[in-house]
Symmetry: C2
Subunit: 83 residues, 2 copies
């Protein structure tokens, strides 16, 4: 069997939406003495490995997986990158 | 005030450790018909913005933030990249 194709999916909250995890972490870092921290933004980094030989069609399938399951298109943006 | 320095921190589980979120997602994708999915690995993608002019010392501080707060060095690895 050939090596699987690997893609990195990065899912982040759309700009302008509240990011409570980021806000909490910013405060925690400042409380630890890192007062130079201006902001922290959290996202998910997902690596998907799939069998297949056709990288272009695999990438299209990964986009579809993002829309259907991996991301919430209402509040999140995503990018897909071949590794 | 100058533009903040931005760094991307990627936190992932150390190789060989169980990744229940990845395993559950792999199964969910296969159940949706994406039977070519071999594995899914979840990590966190964190963007840290800080005030400062010295990128090298800012990057060293971000490494320290990872060790102290952003990652769990017992079970996770991390990388820091300037954006």
């Amino acid at each position: 069997m050939s090596e699987p194709l690997r893609f990195r999916v990065r899912v982040m909250r759309k700009a302008g939406l509240a990011d409570p995890e980021g806000a909490t972490t910013t405060k925690a870092l400042r409380d630890l003495g890192y007062t130079e921290v201006a902001a922290v933004h959290f996202g998910r980094d997902i690596v998907v490995e799939l069998q297949g030989d056709d990288a272009a069609s695999a990438e299209a399938r990964v986009h579809e997986m993002c829309e259907r399951l991996l991301a919430n298109p209402v509040i999140e943006d995503f990018t897909v990158e071949r590794l």
